[in-house]
Amino acid sequence: MKTIDHAANSKVFNQDEDRVDWHDETLWFIRQKRDKASKQIPQWEALREAASQIKNHTLSNLHNYLEEFELNAKANGIQIHWAKDAQEHNEIVYDLLAKQGISKMVKSKSMLTEECHLNHYLEDRGIEVIDSDLGERIVQLAKEPPSHIVLPCIHKKKEEIGALFHEHLGTPEGNADPQVLTEAARQHLRDVFLTRRAALTGVNFAVAETGEIVVCTNEGNADLGVHLADIHIACMGIEKIIPKRGHLSVFLRLLARSATGQPVTTYSSHFAKPRKGKELHIVLVDNGRTKQLGRPDFRNSLKCIRCSACFNTCPVYRRSGGHSYHSVIAGPIGSILSPNLDMAKHADLPFASTLCGSCSNVCPVKIDIHEQLYKWRQVLVKEGYVDAKKALSMQLMAKTLASPTLYHLAGKAARTTLKYAPFIAQNRFNPWYHQREMPAVPKSSFGEWYQKNRTK
């Protein structure tokens, strides 16, 4: 089945112009908060450079660091599991729950479990999963995927959330006050935290030197979930490793400032050992990451710390919405990560960019996102994943530009056509001319002008 591509999805999103403006402005506001926060730190650029180099080094020594992490975590009483793909990851989580007869689990934010479609897998097997991050809970109630990795329901207006909460949590009809809605979610989820025996979290950083993992939240939902449960399952991609505990300083200084402009997330929790008498499991997941590691042009996308600064700054993301990307991770970083997993399905994403480079400029770990977007385009064309019409027109263009005769001929033809029959180009079928004036047609090309005038 062919998925609807980004351009077509964006068109749907853009039918409501007021909403697009609101979405655009909201995200730009967050980008500005990020700018302000970063400028309060004189060492900002030095921090970015350090973070980038630490991650580059880690990727170049990942094999040893994974072994070191496993050794230290096990010595601390943590149980380690390895999953080569999404299927195996889901099976591991299910088995851990089934073994203890657990049928209800609370989960804090984890993009990896979204990537693996864990919720569906567990629900199909009779296990109820409740997402405890407020934004995630909202999209879960709406039966939608998150549209943003840090702000999962940024596409939703408070009135829509009010209606959802009225239906599911019994808030007064028509009430869209964020304070009231958040309070309702607090009461609902507190009961969930107090009654679940299993809690799943993501992982922001895993330290090879100590075998500990760090989980960052603002709401405190990850901690409330795991401290009140018998079993804590933490799922992480293998690229989340950093070498030493001291390196956390670099990443924790960058993460929240890049994400929302906060000086740090409210909670940065370090789990080194399970609670007394309880279990802590870590699932290390590959799911395409080793393949990406083997692509020299694209491997450094694995440096990503999921801050979403590239989303908030992207002129295309802000005006097309996260769902247009039909991918778990949207935005510029999603557009370079997703084709690795499935080129055919995500062939449109590297084209959903103006290549302006703003994403690379705000990236706290200096991933060359816009250059990778450009390189993915070349790979995708070579592999034949691009629309045949586009490929043909590009070939025609290349032939024309390569031959002086054809080039002059084409120029003449275009000038004549645009002079006498402008409607051929300027019509409603050509989106390039929507909301644009046609430029005046020149009388001659520069070549012709030069030929005529050089003897004078």
């Binding site: 994974l66 207006k157 507190r190 107090l194 401290h227 300083s249 670099v250 200084r253 000086p263 409210t266």
Partner: protein, 194 residues
């Protein structure tokens, strides 16, 4: 071949040639600043309240004014607060669900982001700072460090089983970016600098 070996082999095969690990000690260099003032400015900016006090009795006085300490459940791990709080010695931490006010010590705090570090050397029960409606931290003034780099220098190679940085009350802005304090954890944080 099991998945572990599969993944580790693929990593080994695909990882690039070894690149150097950078030295980050230069990040420890900071300008002299008033750490108490900076900490106060930052943590108040993220929704906490800061009070400078000389004696524990002053803190009790403050809390008595803000809470009906006779009527609500107040828990603390510090015996200095016996007058208004009880320690928690239960076996099931779910019994803490009705705590209104929790008063806890901290190891140190960080000026640049308002965070305080606590680990299980101070208290074993991890849920203590997360479950109450309102949280109070006691921070020693001379234990405020400038940045996270200094913070991790202090933590060093310490063997804790759990530790966390906490900066402000629990919060969310998931609904139209409207900031709401008190998402799932404490609705307020009071920091007493002693």
């Amino acid at each position: 071949m099991n998945s572990r070996a599969c993944i580790l082999n693929a990593v080994k095969e695909n990882q690039p040639e070894l690149l150097a690990l950078p030295d980050i000690t230069h990040l420890l260099e900071v300008e002299n600043q008033d750490l108490v003032a900076e900490f106060t400015r930052v943590i108040e900016g993220i929704g906490a309240k800061v009070f400078q006090v000389n004696k524990y009795q002053e803190i009790i006085h403050h809390l008595k004014a803000d809470f009906e300490t006779e009527k609500v459940r107040v828990v603390s791990t510090l015996k200095e607060f016996d007058e208004i709080a009880k320690p928690f010695s239960g076996l099931d931490n779910h019994e803490l669900a009705d705590v209104e006010l929790m008063i806890l010590p901290t190891h140190f705090a960080v000026a640049e982001n308002g965070a305080s570090w606590v680990d299980d050397e101070l208290f074993k029960e991890r849920v203590l700072p997360f479950i109450p409606q309102h949280l109070v931290f006691i921070v020693e003034k001379e234990k405020i460090v400038p940045t996270m780099h200094h913070a991790y220098q202090l933590i060093g190679k310490k063997k804790y089983s759990y530790g966390t940085f906490i900066a402000g009350p629990s919060k969310t802005a998931d609904i139209e970016q409207s900031l709401v304090l008190g998402a799932h954890g404490p609705r307020s944080l009071r920091v007493f600098l002693v």
